[in-house]
């Protein structure tokens, strides 16, 4: 069905187009720019991302549907897209000095990162399971390569390969799920699936299996227990900025699509999938937090912590409703800034050859680098959900959504597991302030990029902790009409 209004269609995907063009420009310019001058390309990538971000902001408040109802630019997708683009900018800032140090300063890195972001944006904008799947694949394939970007490092290869093998496995599930749903309802369009379900209250077991397969695909992408096993290995081996990116970006994108698919056409069956999600949420919060306690490596600890946070993000999905969905959006943002900030500190403290990730190395940081330690404390408190940080307000929102929807026990599990999580988050604070500095550790090389990320993240975490009002209003206006 050709779209009669081309200009509207173009406007709908303008941010994505911008990003694609910029990515291609960077790819071409790479031929011109010599080795060691990739910093300029990173700058172009940042400018391009900001441009796409500006486009997205300008579309705010409209609801544009294009390409035969396959893509939509509504506040919901724009909220996520703005978050993705901001995450991408911060990730690029984290990357430049790191890549130079690890001697992997290739422009393909930025190109892949931009494509990855493009995939995420499509996932949020998709109104059709096929578009969502396309976005997922664009995202995943770029991400596999990024995970293995440190070609000479064994762990990086391991990370990429594992991620790839399991990722394609789950993609297959996802696709199969789409096929079954198409077979039973006759459409892959979310709106038409909803209509079909309204017409036929009992779509039969094949549809149920299709839905379960979709759920597995999403659960894999958000790294929910028991589909989480790939996460620690993949996160630990990937280049650290990519670890940071993976633990916030693709996770958020998966949640964006997850929420849209399950709250729109499948809302009628909420009673059924909510039970499954309840169990997944409880398992994920518990396993993620308990296992994180025993980790001696900070990247691995943050990997398990990100699993746990996926569990917290499932809580508002279970709760659903307006408060549930808007609190999920708020949580995504709070979690993204906090995690990126924490990774900025991790990168500043790491050393050449992917070294310096032992948690023990943080001893005495409060004396050697008071500002870094202060920022890290802020991020750890936020991850643990201690006021007055973004993490606290976010947790308060999701748990009050759960309580309001009557899920008291899920809240109890959530509060209990966040109490457990404080143990390992605060262990870092204690190490920083209550131990003597180790001999040669914690010699940070202060480079501008990560410091800027750190400053922005710290500001955002405090802002969202002390004045969450405006951001939450934004989140609320994003879910309106979802």
């Amino acid at each position: 069905m050709p779209d009669p209004n081309w200009s509207q269609a173009l406007r709908t995907v303008a941010p994505e187009l911008t990003l694609t063009i910029v990515a291609l420009i960077v790819l071409v310019l790479d031929l011109v720019a010599g080795r060691g001058r990739k910093g300029a390309l990173a700058a172009i990538a940042v400018v391009g991302t900001l441009l796409a971000l500006g486009w997205s902001v300008s579309l705010w408040g409209e609801r544009l549907v294009a390409y035969g109802g396959m893509v939509v630019a509504d506040n919901y997708s724009l909220f996520f897209n703005i978050a993705f683009l901001a995450i991408t900018v911060l990730t690029i800032l984290l990357s430049t000095s790191y890549l130079r140090r690890e001697e992997a300063d290739l422009s393909e890195y930025y190109v892949l990162l931009l494509f990855c972001t493009l995939g995420m944006m499509l996932m949020a904008k998709g109104l059709d399971l096929i578009v969502i799947f396309l976005g997922l694949e664009i995202l995943s394939i770029s991400n596999y390569v990024l995970a293995g970007f440190l070609r000479t490092r064994l762990q990086s290869n391991e990370s990429a390969l594992k991620y790839f093998l399991l990722g394609s496995f789950s993609s297959a599930f996802f696709l199969y799920g789409i096929a079954l749903i198409y077979g039973t309802t006759g459409s892959t369009n979310l709106g038409r699936i909803a209509q079909a379900l309204q017409a036929n209250r009992d779509p039969g077991p094949l549809f149920q299996v299709g839905m379960a397969l979709l759920l597995v695909g999403f659960a894999f992408k958000v790294a929910s227990v028991p589909f989480h096993m790939w996460t620690p290995d993949a996160y630990e081996g990937a280049p650290t900025p990519i670890t940071a990116y993976m633990s916030v970006g693709p996770k958020a994108a998966a949640f964006a699509a997850f929420l849209r698919v399950f709250s729109q056409p499948l809302a009628a069956m909420q009673g059924e999938w909510a039970v499954v999600l309840w169990v997944l949420a409880a398992l994920t919060m518990t396993v993620g937090n308990v296992v994180a306690i025993a980790q001696p490596n900070i990247k691995r600890m943050l990997a398990y912590s990100s699993i746990a946070h996926a569990g917290y993000l499932l809580v508002p999905m279970v709760a659903s409703g307006e408060l549930g969905t808007s609190s999920l959006l708020f949580y995504v943002l709070a979690y993204a800034f906090t995690t990126l900030g924490a990774f900025a500190v991790v990168i500043l403290l790491s050393r050449k050859g992917e070294a310096g990730y032992e948690i023990a190395g943080y001893a005495g940081l409060g004396y050697t680098h008071p500002v870094l330690a202060l920022a890290m404390t802020l991020f750890m408190l936020s991850l643990g959900g201690i006021p007055p940080t973004a993490g606290f307000v976010a947790k308060f929102y999701i748990f009050s959504a759960a309580v309001k929807a009557g899920y008291i026990w899920l809240t109890v599990i959530g509060v209990l597991t966040s109490a457990v999580s404080l143990y390992y988050y605060l262990r870092i604070v204690v190490l920083m302030y209550m131990r003597e500095p180790a001999e040669e550790s914690s010699a940070a090389t202060l480079t501008a990029g990560p410091l800027v990320t750190l400053a922005i993240a710290a500001f955002a975490v405090l802002l969202m902790g002390l004045f969450p009002g405006s951001i939450f209003t934004l989140a609320q206006s994003s879910v309106f009409g979802l």
Binding site: K162, P205, A212, F396
Partner: protein, 649 residues
């Protein structure tokens, strides 16, 4: 003035910023001036608020300042709002007043410490958090302060982290109080779920429409009380407090005696209206308090570390306050909270002065005969001991007597009986402490003996300034009410009781409490005589054993079993070690192991087996990935299966 409420917490926060960010560049003198100055100014501001409050008619004594709306969604809103009413005003004065003196004392005590700036930063941060807790007008802000004081307590216990014991004590405090905090957090969510608001006043209004004994109310009050149990170190979450004595002594005085540990008492007192509607919870509060009081006192009888005796005494006195809250004697509980804040603060600072004098020795078996050598410390501590023992006319007598009298007259005979037993024990262990430390012959190390010295004035002056309220505060706050007022034929409630009346009126009505006749020549007189007599008895017994003649160090007469139980603190520490450290640690390690090995391992058995072969890409372990994949598949089957079952229902 009420637009300036924010100044009270903001001033200590300013101190945190200055000392925290610039501390390394400031001279110790500047750090002390800033650290103490901000708390001093906060105390003045608090006094100003207090004065403003007194100028108002009793039933309008509420000052509220909304700083801004913190969290809002739909019709739910939580404001950053500060509330000064008679109850919080009283707490403000204790926190800033005692806090200021302890800050000043710290200047001498921490002199020359490497972490001087860090110390004052933490101490100011603590004061800030405590003030937020006290002034909060909703549960969320209360939680901010609650977490804040916990964090500071944790940091200050482990302040001398070079000592392993200090670091471990910090960890212990953290883990134990966390259990309570979970209850507290869940309680807040339940409040929100039940009433749709977290504003304390609105919650009161909404709760008033529920029937007495409503299940939700009982659950809420019990969960919140769990928080109080953790924070105020009541049984069975008490184990962290004695270990917390690893922190610097002024910290023990401020946080672990006078203020933070009373936060639990304050919480229950603040929410008295909710508790009045939940009789079951009130009974639990009384039972926990009573049991803790007698249990902790029994341990205090045999401890040899001077600070630990005081720590167990604090547990026991907090138990007293909870018992009072549980029987509905709320005014008496707050009364005791105040007097205790002063005399226990005094006793701790005194013990710090003693420890300083004998060169960081805390074992009372290596003290003795110090009375003449450190007279200021001796006399002030003696005043503190007499005050806590409950000898009139010192402060402790009035508050303790009010608790005992109310318990008796409200029909809680068992609480009264426990109170009397605890009173004997208290008098005994306090004078055992005084005797072992100051009386008899010196058992101090001969190397230290000639160098014993009185503390500098910056430390002894705060001691005296705390000694004065320890003497007169009880009399002052009880005047012109019973018991002394009645002796002179005066009527009406005492100063504090009258002051707090507007806060408690409604709750008393709910409980059906009436202004009891006070018969100084009747039952009340008898009760007073009993409590004074047992206090004197305990003192005399201690004096005979540890008095002028050097007493035997082991308590004779008591059955060996009981003595051992007391010495070993009823083996509570061992139990906790087993549960939380040994078992808890194993669980975490096991979970990791399970996640990494067994989940894979099970699948391993089903699926193809590949062996980890060394080197190269083998680390990728195709088998491993297959295991993961199979895990996903199994997960899917289980999920889809349960899914179909749910759908098929």
């Amino acid at each position: 003035m009420h637009e300036l409420i924010w100044l009270v917490p903001a001033l200590p926060l300013l101190g945190v910023l200055i000392n925290g960010l610039l501390g390394s560049r400031l001279s110790p003198r500047a750090i002390s001036v800033v650290g103490c100055g901000v708390v001093g100014l906060a105390a003045l501001a608090a006094l100003g608020l207090f004065a403003e409050l007194t100028a108002l008619p009793p039933h309008t004594r509420v000052l509220r300042q909304v700083l801004y709306t913190w969290i809002a969604s739909g019709n739910f809103r939580a404001e950053v709002a500060l509330l000064v009413d008679p109850l919080s005003a009283v707490m403000l004065l204790v926190v800033t007043g005692v806090g200021f003196l302890i800050h000043v004392y710290s200047v001498g005590y921490m002199h020359g410490d490497r972490g001087y700036a860090r110390y004052f930063t933490y101490l100011n941060l603590f004061t800030f958090s405590m003030l937020v807790l006290v002034l909060a007008d909703n549960f969320l802000l209360l939680y901010v302060g609650w977490e804040g004081v916990g964090l500071c307590s944790y940091l200050l216990i482990g302040f001398w982290y070079e000592r392993d014991s200090a670091a471990n004590a910090g960890k212990k405090a953290f883990i134990t109080t966390r259990i309570g905090d979970v209850g507290f957090a869940v309680g807040i969510f339940l409040v929100f779920a039940t009433f749709g608001t977290v504003n304390i006043r609105e919650v009161f209004d909404a709760a008033g429409r529920l029937p007495v004994g409503d299940a939700a109310l009982t659950a809420i009050t019990l969960l919140l009380f769990l928080g109080a149990v953790g924070k105020s170190a009541q049984l069975p979450l008490h184990v962290w407090l004695p270990d917390a004595m690893e922190g610097p002594t002024p910290v023990s005085a401020l946080i672990h005696a006078a203020t933070m540990v009373t936060a639990g008492v304050y919480l229950v007192a603040r929410l008295s209206l909710l508790y009045a509607l939940a009789p079951v919870s009130l009974a639990v509060v009384a039972a926990v308090g009573g049991i803790t009081a007698v249990f902790a006192a029994s341990i205090g009888l045999t401890q040899n570390d001077i600070k630990r005796v005081l720590a167990y005494s604090t547990l026991s006195q907090l138990g007293y306050m909870f018992a009072a809250l549980g029987v509905g004697a709320w005014t008496a509980a707050i009364f005791h909270l105040m007097t205790h804040g002063f005399f226990k603060g005094l006793l701790f600072l005194g013990s710090g002065s003693v420890i300083h004098a004998v060169h960081e020795e805390q074992d009372m078996r290596k003290m003795g005969g110090l009375a003449k050598k450190i007279p200021h410390t001796y006399w002030t501590m003696l005043i503190g001991a007499v005050a806590i023992a409950g000898i009139p006319p010192l402060a402790g007598f009035f508050s303790k007597d009010e608790i005992l009298g109310e318990a008796y007259k409200l029909g809680f005979l068992w609480v009264w009986a426990i109170g009397v037993v605890v009173a004997i024990m208290t008098a005994f262990y306090m004078f055992r402490l005084i005797g072992l430390t100051f009386w008899g012959e010196s058992r101090v190390d001969t190397a230290v003996e000639p160098r014993i010295h009185e503390s500098p004035r910056v430390m002894t002056v705060p001691l005296w300034l705390l000694a004065i309220p320890s003497i007169v505060l009880g009399l002052f706050l009880a005047w012109p009410g019973p018991p002394l007022g009645s002796l002179f034929g005066m009527e009406g409630p005492g100063l504090l009781a009258g002051w707090l009346e507007p806060v408690y009126e409604h709750g008393f009505e709910l409980l059906g409490h009436h202004e009891a006749e006070f018969a100084i020549f009747g039952i009340d007189g008898v009760l007073i005589l009993i409590s004074v007599a047992v206090a004197l008895g305990g003192m005399l017994a201690a004096w005979r054993l540890f008095g002028v003649e050097i007493g035997p160090l082991q308590r004779r007469g008591a059955p060996a079993q009981v003595n051992r139980a007391s010495l070993n603190k009823w083996w509570f520490d061992d139990l906790n070690h087993l549960v939380f450290i040994v078992i808890g640690g194993r669980v975490a390690a096991f979970a990791w192991w399970f996640d990494a090995k067994v989940v894979d391992g099970i699948v391993n058995g089903i699926g193809a087996v590949t062996r980890r072969s060394g080197g190269g890409l083998a680390r990728v372990q195709t088998g491993h990935v297959q295991n993961y994949a199979l895990g996903i598949a199994v997960g899917l089957i289980v999920m889809a299966g349960s899914y179909l079952m749910i759908a098929g229902r």
